[in-house]
């Protein structure tokens, strides 16, 4: 049974949600990697996994952790028009530390490989042809933060949030980097002083591609604080229509854990005041669940679709501004990521050991159907 919160799902709502996801950035969590507030001491934000899916007009990507101890992170792609997923993990580097991915409609996918073991800097890999070939940029001099929002791309512009809270930017696809904010810079700014302690967990590019949006926790309560940087104005604090803790941040989109439940936010392109944001109705999530640290993430796209995967397999999507959260049938066991499927369907990517199983929820259906199985050739012992 598929049901919306408070009323039965209509077919049009599912279509809207699926369509939104198809052109959206979405993510899921399995609790295997956590995002820690960087550069501040504020109360902890909800734990969000690096596992995620991202969609562009052309392709749909999924970042999925496979196996355990050690975990190998894999990149899967479903190229536009293709019904099936492919393994396209960038070669040449051990990714046991996790992958942080970012995309926009122009630049395909850029992946930051979080360093592990004796590696201390962050290799970068980018593809513009659905993972057929990868080019290397960078590297970033330190490790990127363990947050799905630690990397942002807009054309040749890149921004990265490092583990120590530094924000670095590049204007040449990562060949060279400069420091935009050191740890404490935002907290020390006039905008940050209104907040108290600042813990940045996510970054994104603003409506103007050179503007950087940084968000995280603010003050002792850990409520979300959004900051925008422009060369002219420096750091400015953005007003939000809803108070809550930040779960995910995207370009002009965000997901907060508010008192009433998960709330999606969409910016109108300006986003400087509370009036520039549209808030969704809340998705009631019990505090016991959301405070468990297993809250799966969600974020938005220009079209505004989001999804969340909660502990226990509960899943929900929302199509965009003005729509309701749509509760999906419980996701198949071991689902790690939800992503847009072919047409209006939704895919659930489930992991068991080194096997990825793709389940599909067709428009109007209440049953997940197994569509594809991928045996991932994990190189046990190669890097651990």
């Amino acid at each position: 049974m598929t049901a919306t919160t408070g009323r039965r799902a209509s077919a049009s709502a599912l279509v809207a949600a699926a369509t939104a996801i198809a052109s959206s950035v979405a993510l899921a969590a399995c609790g295997s990697s956590s995002s820690a507030p960087a550069g501040g001491e504020a109360a902890s934000a909800p734990v969000v996994s690096l596992a995620t899916s991202l969609s562009t007009a052309k392709d749909t990507w999924a970042i999925v952790p496979m196996t355990a101890n050690p975990t190998f992170w894999e990149v899967f792609v479903r190229p536009a028009g293709s019904p099936t997923w492919q393994l396209v993990t960038p070669p040449g580097v051990a990714d046991n530390g996790g992958l942080v991915a970012a995309t926009d409609t122009e630049s395909g996918l850029t992946v930051a490989v979080r360093p592990s073991q004796d590696l201390e800097f962050t290799p970068l890999a980018s593809t513009a042809n659905a993972g057929s070939t990868w080019s290397t940029g960078g590297p970033i001099s330190e490790g990127v933060a363990s947050s799905p929002g630690a990397l942002a791309v807009s054309g040749r512009q890149l921004a990265a949030l490092l583990t120590n809270g530094t924000i670095e930017t590049s204007s040449n696809s990562g060949d060279t980097w400069r420091t935009l904010a050191k740890p404490g810079t935002i907290a020390a700014s006039r905008a940050g002083q209104t907040c108290g302690t600042v813990g940045i967990t996510s970054i994104a590019f603003g409506p103007v591609p050179t503007d950087v949006l940084a968000a995280g926790s603010c003050g002792a309560s850990g409520s979300a604080g959004f900051f925008s940087y422009s060369a002219d104005d420096g750091w400015q604090r953005l007003s939000l229509p809803v108070s809550g803790q930040l779960v995910r941040l995207g370009a002009g989109t965000a997901l907060l854990r508010a008192k009433a439940g998960l709330t999606a936010l969409w910016g109108d392109g300006a986003e400087s005041s509370a009036a520039d944001w549209t808030a969704s109705p809340p998705l009631p999530v019990t505090s016991a669940v959301t405070s468990s640290g297993g809250l799966a993430g969600a974020t938005a796209t220009s079209a505004g679709g989001m999804w969340v995967l909660l502990p226990g397999g509960q899943a929900a999507t929302i199509g965009g501004p003005g729509q309701q959260w749509l509760l999906l049938p419980p996701a198949p066991a071991h689902t790690s990521v939800l992503a847009s499927g072919p047409g209006t369907s939704i895919d659930a990517l489930a992991v068991s050991g080194a096997t990825l199983t793709v389940w599909q929820l067709d428009h109007g259906s209440t049953v997940w159907a197994r569509e594809q199985t991928i045996k991932v050739p994990i190189q046990y012992g190669s890097s651990s």
Partner: protein, 620 residues
């Protein structure tokens, strides 16, 4: 527990052969010492006409048993230390398990000892052998006087060293403490025995010493009985949480170790019995310990030799049963280094009993010569041989007049020195011996072929050919700039090797070629250099180029490099080459760093530096 395990295979033929060779060399030196001492003694007797003294003094029985008994135990321990796998196996098979469950400060202390051992495994293993053999011989030969006191002091000192660093304080700080498994540590009893042997001779002429030993042992056993009876420690249960209880588990683990079949059957059956009858077995243990403890205390309080004799016999039977059934003779299975606590405990309370019934001791004969060197000097008689210079006369007469066992005691001191000196020198050296690296990497390949030339780009963007480096010894490695494991370790080893080369570093070029088909840009070689601290080393070159250029170099040096799928790092051989100043490949070294501990890193650095120096030496 990082740093605890050297990553060595204890059965490594290289390590075993090196250990055997070191023992053999030192044994020859020791034999020479004994021989020279004997010759010198005979010569001095001829020179001054000395003769053996006939001592009427009779050593107290209790002290003699204590001295010879613990001397024999030290000797046995020394022999056990000579097991072939001891050099590579002691840290992982003895020291590390001993520290399991102990507080972090104990683990840190043991870790320090492990680190010292891992840096110099051969010197440490050989030293342990000879120090313990030397202490054992010294205790056996030294009957009285300063010689015995020094021997006893060495027993105390070495016993405490082994007890703290080797036995993690007998695991007394670990939760499963029980005398049945070995608490408070065999060597602590050795140290106590050493302390007793340092007491003045007059003490041994009185009952008091026996009473004190019995009272102390009795109090210890009573405390152990209380501990054994304490609820909630898993000793009362044959089975616990679906598995065997504490005692049964211990016995079964001992039964699983390699040992003679008959003993395995006995221990295994007792393990099953303890699992089925956990309560009864522990009850017997508690009663036996308490009864023995109480009897010892009572006999000490009453000075009652009869009660003490009964208690000693009963306690000895119990201890022997525990030694066989629970401790599995202490040294069987794995790398046993001593017979565990029960034998020294039996020895100690037997000495207590003997001390309770002292015999007359010092009864000097009218013209007897004491068996101490200083006393012997007085007794040696001149036979009219050529007079010695005055300054030499005294020592020579003392030496000549000393009985043979004193000379043997001095030689035993020589054994300790022969054992301790290499370890003392090694411990001052903060660089690990290359033997560890050799054991991990295997024997180096000796080559003599021209190195294929290549031209690549350095981290500074300069074109560098191998031929342009002629005149310097080149240490060439193949490193992946985004490698997460081996390559940063190898690079760090090369950096340390450069330091070890000292002034010779200016005649050396450390060269690495990128071994990754994807991450080949200069930015990555520079990032790698910064990460491993090689960006400030003037004779370091990290070369890269196009994939085709790199592939050509890999091919010519036999390096296989490939990208692996699914998030694995690039695969490549860990091989380094030593290229002479004339451009000849002289050595091929497997530089797979193994576990990458501080000890193995330092050892590989030594190996690399030695290889470079060897190349320089060959071409001079």
């Amino acid at each position: 527990m990082p740093g605890m395990n050297s990553g060595l295979n204890p059965a490594s033929p290289i390590l075993v052969a090196a250990f055997r060779s070191a023992l053999l060399h030192q044994a020859l030196i020791i034999a020479l010492i004994f021989f020279l001492m004997l010759i010198a003694w005979r010569a001095s007797r001829t020179a001054v006409g000395g003769q053996s003294a006939v001592a009427a003094w009779r050593e107290p029985r209790a002290r003699r048993v204590l001295r010879i008994g613990f001397g024999a135990l030290w000797l046995l321990d020394g022999i056990l230390q000579a097991q072939p796998q001891m050099a590579g196996g002691l840290p992982s098979q003895v020291l590390q398990p001993a520290a399991d469950g102990s507080p972090s400060w104990v683990v840190s202390l043991v870790n320090f000892g492990v680190n010292v051992w891992n840096y110099h495994p051969i010197a440490a293993a050989a030293s342990s052998v000879w120090i313990q053999v030397g202490i054992g011989l010294w205790l056996i030969f030294a009957v009285r006087g300063w010689s015995l006191r020094l021997a006893a002091l060495s027993s105390v000192a070495w016993g405490l060293v082994v007890w703290s660093f080797g036995e993690a304080f007998g695991a007394i700080f670990a939760p499963g403490l029980t005398v049945l498994f070995g608490a408070p540590g065999a060597v602590l009893i050795y140290a106590v025995a050493g302390g007793l042997l340092m007491l003045p001779e007059r003490v041994w002429a009185r009952q008091l010493i026996g009473r004190l030993i019995l009272a102390g042992t009795g109090a210890f056993l009573l405390a152990m009985a209380l501990l054994q009876a304490w609820p909630g420690r898993g000793f009362w249960q044959g089975r616990l949480d679906g598995g065997p209880g504490s005692l049964a588990a211990m016995v079964q683990s001992m039964a699983a170790t390699p040992q003679p079949h008959a003993l395995e059957v006995i221990v295994s059956r007792f393990g099953s019995f303890a699992e089925s009858n956990g309560f009864a077995v522990n009850l017997v243990a508690v009663i036996a310990l308490a009864a023995a403890g109480a009897a010892f205390c009572l006999s000490a309080a009453r000075s009652d030799p009869r009660l003490a004799r009964i208690a000693v016999l009963g306690a000895a039977v119990f201890c022997l049963a525990d030694w066989v059934l629970v401790e599995d003779l202490g040294f069987l299975g794995g790398l046993g280094t001593d017979p565990n606590n029960m034998i020294p405990l039996i020895l100690l309370f037997t000495v207590g009993y003997l001390g309770l019934t002292p015999q007359p001791t010092a009864e000097p004969a009218a013209v007897a010569v004491a068996d101490e060197p200083e006393a012997a000097a007085v007794a040696s008689a001149s036979t009219g041989t050529a007079p010695l210079p005055g300054w030499l006369s005294g020592p020579v007469r003392a030496f000549a007049g000393a009985p043979l066992r004193v000379i043997a005691g001095l030689a035993a001191l020589g054994v300790i020195i022969v054992g301790a000196a290499p370890m003392a020198f090694a411990s001052v050296n903060k660089t690990a011996d290359p033997i560890t690296a050799e054991a991990i990497a295997g024997t180096n390949g000796q080559l003599d072929s021209p190195a294929p030339n290549f031209t690549l780009t350095s981290q500074t963007g300069r074109q560098v050919s191998l031929a342009s480096l002629r005149g310097k010894v080149v240490l060439l490695a193949f490193l992946d700039p985004v490698c997460t494991t081996d390559c940063p370790v190898i690079a760090a080893e090369m950096r340390v090797a450069d330091t070890l080369l000292g002034s010779k570093a200016s005649d050396t070029e450390l060269v690495a070629v990128v071994a990754n088909p994807t991450y080949t840009s200069l930015a990555y070689t520079r990032a790698f250099d910064s990460q491993v601290g090689l960006n400030t080393v003037p004779n370091w070159l990290y070369l890269t180029g196009s994939v085709s250029q790199l592939a050509s170099v890999w091919h010519h040096f036999g390096i296989e490099v490939e990208d692996l799928p699914a998030g694995a790092m690039a695969a490549h051989n860990d091989i380094a080459f030593v290229i002479s100043a004339q451009g000849e490949i002289q050595q091929e070294i497997s530089d797979d760093p193994g576990p990458g501990t501080d000890a193995t890193k330092s050892s590989f650095a030594s190996l690399l530096a030695d290889s470079v120096l060897q190349s320089m030496g060959q071409n001079q």
